[in-house]
Amino acid sequence: MPDIEKLERIAAQKDAQAYRALFEKFGPIVKAFMMRQGVDAATAEELAQETMLSVWRKAALYSEDKGSVATWIFAIARNLRIDYLRREKTWVELPDNYAQEASSDTSPDEAVSGEQQRSIIRRALDELPEEQRQVVILSFIEGLPHREIANRLNLPVGTVKSRIRLAYLKLRSAVGEPDQ
């Protein structure tokens, strides 16, 4: 059963089996993700549970045109991490805030399915030169700001930014050019 169907079942009938399946697929990864961000195991556990609880509670708010289920869960986990770890306000809201304009956002010809897009992005990531992939991973997975990536790699901040920019351009052109 595709992830989206599991989510629909959770939304419609609080389907425990569907939830278990999503939990087993994503929970342990989210916990590991939190640990990569420099969190101790107990907090990572708590944040991962909280992420999956949000999936349960907000299942009805998910809309497919905002990306795959994995993308949605990533955004939830990221926001929880910002909230809990930095004790900062999460400024960038989850995509579900914009659900009401979803249809005007995506024109039909670029509506690639979540699964298609996922494999396109995966391939593009694998094809990035190592020095570009490294900075993307430090940014997304280790959660480091540009300045700290620069310190970690002993590089000028400008070099980090240009590597990230090059990576972005390659990833972006793999799924189609951005609008101007």
């Binding site: 590991a32 195991a41 609880l53 905002k66 930095r86 400024w91 940014s139 990230i164 920019r165």
Partner: protein, 212 residues
């Protein structure tokens, strides 16, 4: 409204990664609320984040079954998002619904500011600044990345002119002398990397104006 200047890709990426100093993330968030193009970019970058998660080796996690009674979160109502306001939604709880009603603090004749408090260790600072019509700020440099979002009016400098919705990035190696638009003046949201940086800028401006 056509927005001409969007944040650079590297900033969109660290915004999606959640790895941006808080003040900069706040400017990005405010821009997102008025820029469909960048919202789409952010959604794309979220999917990059999701793809990267696949490479992480999982850590065992025991499932806790949520109670079926946990209430579902209701979507934020459309009404809430369409309140008549010239303040981007993420800022409203700090400054209210109208730029005109902000409790501006005067810095020097023609320049007002309103600082927005952030987490102590955010390592960045966030302020609204209002500059009177036609007023020219002294030439100044930046000691870290500065992101400026135009909220009302317009301003220009030697690199271009900027209107409502535009995001202007100033790197640490860049100096400029901004001038507020003749008719309207301008109100901007400014985020500076590193603590107290913008403070430093204002201090220098005051210095030039007052001769202290």
């Amino acid at each position: 409204m056509t927005i001409k200047r969007h944040p650079n890709p590297e900033n969109l990426m660290s915004c999606a990664a959640g790895s941006m100093p808080e003040a900069l993330a706040a400017v990005m968030a405010c821009h997102m609320t008025i820029c469909p193009r960048c919202r789409k970019e952010l959604a794309f970058l979220d999917s990059v984040g999701a793809a990267l998660l696949e490479d992480i080796s999982p850590t065992p996690l025991v499932m806790k079954m949520p109670s079926p009674n946990v209430p579902a979160r209701q979507p934020k109502s459309i009404a809430e998002n369409s309140i008549k306001s010239d303040v981007p939604a993420p800022l409203r709880k700090f400054v209210g619904n109208r730029l005109a009603d902000i409790n501006w603090k005067r810095v020097t004749p023609g320049i007002w500011q309103f600082p927005i408090p952030l987490a102590k260790h955010s390592n960045s600072s966030l302020k609204l600044i209002k500059v009177g019509a036609g007023l020219k700020l002294p030439d100044h440099g930046h000691s870290g990345l500065e992101l400026t979002l135009v909220l009302q009016g317009a301003f220009s400098d030697e690199f271009g002119s900027y209107e409502v919705g535009d995001v202007v990035e100033m790197g640490e190696d860049v100096a400029h002398a901004p001038v507020a638009a003749e008719e309207t003046g301008c109100i901007c949201l400014i985020a500076s990397e590193g603590p107290m940086r913008f403070h430093g800028l204002l201090a220098r401006i005051v210095q030039k104006f007052t001769g202290f």
